[in-house]
């Protein structure tokens, strides 16, 4: 893909998702929650997926993990991890990948750990699920990992139960667990959402350190544009189950193209100038997966809608910056100016 940075093309992508679709059989017919998502992730790359709740970002990474277990769910398309197809892989083989080469961090550290086991034991369990280590060696490894994620007094902390740790410490424990088998790919589903801001920054540092020390690639799901700006190499914006814009982080912030992205960025309080009385919000609500509009799914909420929006726009690349929108370059510039004027004008 043209959006990849030169370095990652040479190394070959670690993850290639093609036309991923996740649908659910329901009483009201087939519902497409993820609709034709394609992604490429290079070695050591941090890709951020942003979007509102229900935009399909979590389902996309769950599909990569092979963790969509709803018997009514249908996963289609192709997910290649280091060239190996994961869709349709028998569960036994998928299990070897899951938690080993691909690991996941979940959103809520308060509930993500089994309450009845000490964290050291939970980490050691994962180590032993993938490596032929003795109980004692796994326990030692768990303590090393706990130390690596910056929990003080690692040997003592290993004996602690989840309820004895703070949210930030629990998230560190979850990360230690995810790192236990040196994953090449880490999927982080809103790892900082449930934490307070100072802890958020520490966790992001940890993710960055992880790439530096272990050379892992990361997909980080968030709806926090601040987190994106902080950490991501590239950003994919998802809306109603599809990617509507994708670019390198700097390019996306400098020159957002899709009206939805404009809306997302417009709802961040500006750092300079007068304080707006009211932050602009995107009008309307995301479409229900039962009633995704024909044509551009964002159309009904879009200020710049035209007749041409009745046809669903494809993701089109333009200098490594992909957008699924019919607006021309000039129209986009105008929209951007307009959007910024709203933010400023609200002051």
């Amino acid at each position: 893909m043209s959006g990849d940075r030169p370095g990652s093309i040479e190394a070959g992508p670690i993850l290639e998702v093609r036309d991923l679709a996740v649908s659910f059989r329901t009483e009201r017919g087939l519902v497409r929650a993820v609709d034709g998502v394609s992604l490429t992730l290079g070695e050591r790359e941090i890709l951020s997926i942003v979007g509102e709740s229900g935009s399909g970002k979590t389902l996309t990474v769950l599909a990569v993990m092979g963790l969509i277990r709803d018997p009514n769910a249908i996963v289609e398309g192709s997910i290649r991890f280091r060239g190996r197809e994961l869709v349709g892989l028998p569960d036994g083989e998928m299990r070897r990948v899951r938690g080993g080469a691909i690991a996941m961090i979940f959103q809520n550290p308060m509930t993500a750990l089994t309450p009845v086991y000490a964290i050291g034991r939970q980490i050691a369990e994962q180590v032993r699920a993938h490596r032929p280590l003795s109980r004692r060696a796994a326990a030692r490894r768990a303590i090393e990992l706990i130390e690596a994620v910056g929990i003080p007094n690692p040997a003592g902390a290993a004996q602690r139960f989840p309820h004895e740790l703070s949210g930030g410490m629990r998230q560190r424990a979850v990360i230690a667990m995810a790192l236990s088998c040196d994953p090449a790919l880490l999927l982080a589903d809103e790892p900082t959402t449930a934490l307070d801001v100072t802890v958020q920054a520490q966790i992001l540092d940890l993710v960055r350190k992880l790439r530096a020390d272990f050379g892992s690639s990361v997909i980080l799901i968030t709806h926090n544009m601040g987190v994106v700006a902080e950490i991501a190499d590239r950003v994919a914006v998802m809306y109603a189950g599809r990617i509507v814009e994708r670019a390198e982080t700097a390019a996306l912030f400098r020159e957002p193209r899709h009206p939805y992205t404009l809306g997302l960025l417009g709802s961040i309080p500006p750092l300079e100038g007068a304080r707006p009385r009211r932050l602009p919000a995107i009008p309307g609500t995301p479409p229900s997966p039962f009633a995704i509009p024909e044509g551009c799914p964002f159309g009904p909420r879009c200020r710049w809608r035209e007749a041409a929006c009745a046809v669903r726009p494809e993701l089109v690349a333009e200098g490594g910056h992909e957008t699924a929108c019919i607006l021309t370059k000039e129209a986009r510039a105008a929209a951007r100016a307009q959007s910024l004027a709203v933010t400023a004008g609200a002051a």
Partner: protein
């Protein structure tokens, strides 16, 4: 705990004296006794004293001097009767408890693992049948088959005659005499425990930590037995504490009566039939003692199962 025991015994005592037609003096004196005889008996047994005094006297005889005698069979001492009956009940309930815990856990786990498949449905229908079968009926059917109809066949020729064989006398005989009562008693509880555990497991399987456990690369069975089961055991253990205590205290009376086991339950049964107050008092106190003890044991078990309980 002492408070609970005193409360229960006092309540039973008062209920007994409030029961019409239960006048112990009249019963002791016999059917055609003259009023004078009844009055004499009443005086002799101290039944003319105020109720609190009577209660204190009875407790004194029961617990301190341990020479409380039956109102119905004169001269029959209560305490040795219970001491003799206790091992019978204990053998019956312990064996049944082992069976129902093992099978209850297996049924719950397998049903949860195969949720919504034929295996799950079959197990749930089976346990519903188990729960619905009255134990006295099931016991009689078992007896009918193994003692008479099929006793001649190869399968049940080993079944001994009804009754209890002390463990010290013959371990094998003890086992043979008890294995059918065990199963009969356990069937009901396997059904209940299996269903409750299945429901708790399925609830636990929706928790976030289960997804974490799956993401670690554990197999479904490992996730189920290591993570979901441990967190689902609280209500299982609570139920077990109550049921086990009640059964050891004589709650298995139907099973005991049907299988001719002279346990605490059978004693209670007889005492109730005869309205034999001292015996009722003794068995009730004995029963409540076990209920209280096993609930205390459950509280300790909680702490072992769930570290969150420990500090409180």
């Amino acid at each position: 705990m002492l408070f609970v025991l005193v409360g229960i015994s006092a309540t039973v005592f008062l209920i007994f004296f409030a029961t019409p037609g239960a006048d112990p003096a009249a019963r002791i004196a016999g059917r055609n006794a003259t009023p004078e005889t009844v009055a004499a008996v009443r005086k002799e047994f101290g039944l003319d004293k105020p109720l609190p005094v009577q209660y204190a006297m009875m407790m004194d005889h029961l617990l301190v001097t341990q020479d409380l005698t039956s109102f119905v069979n004169r001269g029959e001492k209560i305490v040795p009767e219970i001491v003799e009956a206790a091992p019978v009940t204990l053998s019956l309930v312990l064996g049944a408890a082992v069976i129902w815990v093992v099978f209850g856990v297996v049924v719950g786990l397998v049903a949860a693992a195969f949720k919504d498949t034929l295996i799950d449905r079959g197990l749930m229908v089976g346990s519903l049948i188990g729960v619905s079968m009255p134990v006295f009926w099931l016991g009689e059917v078992v007896n009918l088959l193994t003692q008479s109809r099929l006793h001649g066949t190869f399968f049940f020729a080993w079944v001994p005659a009804l009754g209890y064989v002390p463990l010290r006398q013959s371990p094998l005989g003890w086992f043979a005499a008890l294995v059918l009562p065990w199963i009969t008693l356990a069937v009901l509880y396997i059904g209940i425990y299996g269903r409750v555990l299945r429901a708790n497991l399925i609830e636990a399987l929706n928790e976030d930590y289960i997804r974490t456990a799956r993401a670690k690369g554990l197999s479904d069975w490992q996730v189920l037995t290591r993570h979901a089961l441990r967190c689902s055991l609280i209500s299982f253990v609570t139920m077990f504490g109550l049921d086990f205590g009640a059964l050891v205290g004589g709650g298995a009376l139907l099973t005991e009566v049907v299988f001719g086991l002279q346990g605490v339950g059978a004693l209670t049964y007889r005492a109730l039939e005869d309205l034999d107050l001292p015996m009722i008092m003794a068995t009730v106190i004995y029963a409540s003692f076990f209920v209280v003890v096993s609930n205390a044991a459950v509280d300790i078990l909680y702490a072992a199962i769930d570290p969150r309980v420990r500090e409180r």
